[in-house]
Symmetry: C2
Subunit: 340 residues, 2 copies
């Protein structure tokens, strides 16, 4: 197994990214990690920190795409960027996965134009495994890759999410929900009505109907599908709510001596909660439907998140999610689905 | 001032609703409150609790629409429901506002078919004033009245939200954002691109561009507009995130004796936080664009939320939001906006 790692992606690159790779190896990671970027800089950091370079390899790339740049412009203007070079290497088949904490848009653009889509895939989607109340993982997708979707895309998202949860998490019959503005069948927009009717016709998935925004974090569903616009709105609303609650709680604690004392006793429980709720600790988002495993870690990832993303990529490779998706989407019966 | 109150709407009706009305009067509410519902039952509850009936009046309605019913079906089948009777009374002009904690869909249906839209309004929208980190109120709309929108509707939502925040909150130049999957102008769906270009052409509003889900609770914007599908997804995702964080925190507190002790000291700060973040305590959602003030309190409202909703209705009446919206939307210049 060989995983490409964008050494210069994210706010804490390259130091934390390199540390994440070193930790992945020392924690028993089975794959060889190929660090993509300015090799002299990477090697200097490894040497400075006295890291072992066991199971590490290097690939030179001289340019960096930042999150401030327009993804498509940057992709065009920087052919030697870590993301472009990495995705081109993924295309060759010598490497099975690409991991980056860099620009989401650039990773997606390069994934589509360099690594390419799997045969039969209309649009790759960005899926995030959400932390939930019950502890059961919920794959939420599309989190933002495709702002404009057709019902056909969401049918594929459901099948890809189903394949991922079966293969990587071993869930036998994933429960699949459609994000909507109410749970009843008649709720929704013209778009979700068409998706609902199409999903009912898909063989081999357990489509359970409409779900609401408040169901994303309960753990009751294994896969929740939506278009990339609503998915992005939901994920960022959740992030905003967490920020607001923590900020308000902090203000109220600081306003009272008694509460401050209480906080000292509760600090650990707090930190554990923040860590559990932080989906970044779960690794990263996966781009499903790409010709290779692509994991996008959060831009603010520190070494632990990078290590988690590498293990996540390893799991996806080992369980051959790519082949499963290709097989499932080549099912001739899917062509008979009637779209409104 | 006369406000109609659906005495049988919501999970805690009629007891808590009636108590909410009595408290509103005793706390100095200026309007007469007309309780709509089975008058004998209402009067028995007032008598049993020894409430004063000062500033209260009564209007008989023998049917109740539940949240389990299809709003349009129920509206058709129950012509003597509290919601239908109340909205018909609003139409007459004798009453200025209608407040209900009942079915959102039924309130909206009855608002449109009985009270009617204000002249020039294409679609009434549901707006919620969100609690924010900074404490500044943010009007978020549409929260779910219109799953399918045209760009023209969102232009009206922006103007109605602007009018509300100016009149009720005294904000001189409200900052208006468009909910999107990124802040850059090029981000968004085909739909939000068209809305963006249209909002740039509106005179007399301060449109500041795209905002994200995480901006809904910061308090940085005075009005955030979106379609009713995305708005509902956002509001319910926020609700779900709050539930998940509190549930996880509770689990982590209960797992440690030290944390449990700490919690005893912090209880007040916690309760204050939950209360501050609970948008239900702010009263309710407003239906803007209806011929009269319509406030929809949360279904789980207790008496305090009903009292808050009554004060909210009083404010909207006093500041004549209805007339302001009608004037603003009759501006001839709006007809010159070019839609893509």
């Amino acid at each position: 197994m060989k995983i490409l790692l964008d050494a210069f992606g994210g706010d804490n690159a390259p130091e934390q990214v390199i540390k994440g790779a070193v930790d992945y190896v020392s924690k028993g990671g089975k794959a060889e990690v190929c660090l993509v970027g300015m090799v002299d800089v990477i090697k200097a950091i490894i040497e400075k920190n006295g890291y072992s370079d066991k199971s590490l390899s290097f690939m030179n790339a001289t340019e960096i795409i930042t999150c401030e740049e327009s993804p498509t412009d940057a992709f065009r203007k920087k052919p030697d960027s870590t993301i472009t070079v990495g995705m081109s290497a993924l295309k060759t088949g010598e490497y099975e996965a690409f991991v980056s904490a860099g620009s989401t848009g650039a990773v997606l653009t390069a994934a589509i134009f360099k690594a390419g889509r799997l045969a039969g895939v209309k649009r790759p989607a960005m899926g995030t495994v959400m932390p939930t109340i019950s502890g059961n993982p919920t794959m939420f997708m599309d989190c933002g890759a495709n702002a404009d979707c057709k019902p056909e895309y969401l049918v594929q998202f459901a099948i890809m999410g189903d394949a991922y949860m079966k293969k990587v998490y071993g869930i036998k019959v994933p429960k699949i929900g459609l994000l909507c503005n109410g749970t009843e069948e008649e709720k929704g927009s013209q778009f979700t009505h068409a998706v609902y009717q199409a999903l009912k016709q898909v063989d081999g998935i357990n489509f359970v109907g409409n779900v609401e925004g408040r169901d994303i974090l309960t753990g009751e569903y294994d896969v929740i599908v939506t278009d990339g616009f609503s998915g992005n709105v939901a994920v960022k609303s959740i992030e905003g709510a967490a920020n607001a609650i923590m900020a308000t709680l902090k203000r109220n604690i600081m306003a009272s001596l008694k509460a401050k004392i209480g906080f000292l006793f509760m600090k650990k429980a707090f930190k554990k909660t923040v860590k559990e709720m932080d989906y970044n600790n779960r690794g990263g988002a996966v781009f499903l439907g790409v010709n290779g495993v692509v994991v996008k870690a959060h831009g603010s990832s520190k070494s632990t998140a990078i290590t988690a993303a590498l293990f996540q990529a390893e799991e996806a490779i080992k369980n051959d999610v790519k082949a499963e998706i290709a097989t499932r989407l080549s099912d001739e019966k899917l062509k008979q689905i009637k779209y409104e």
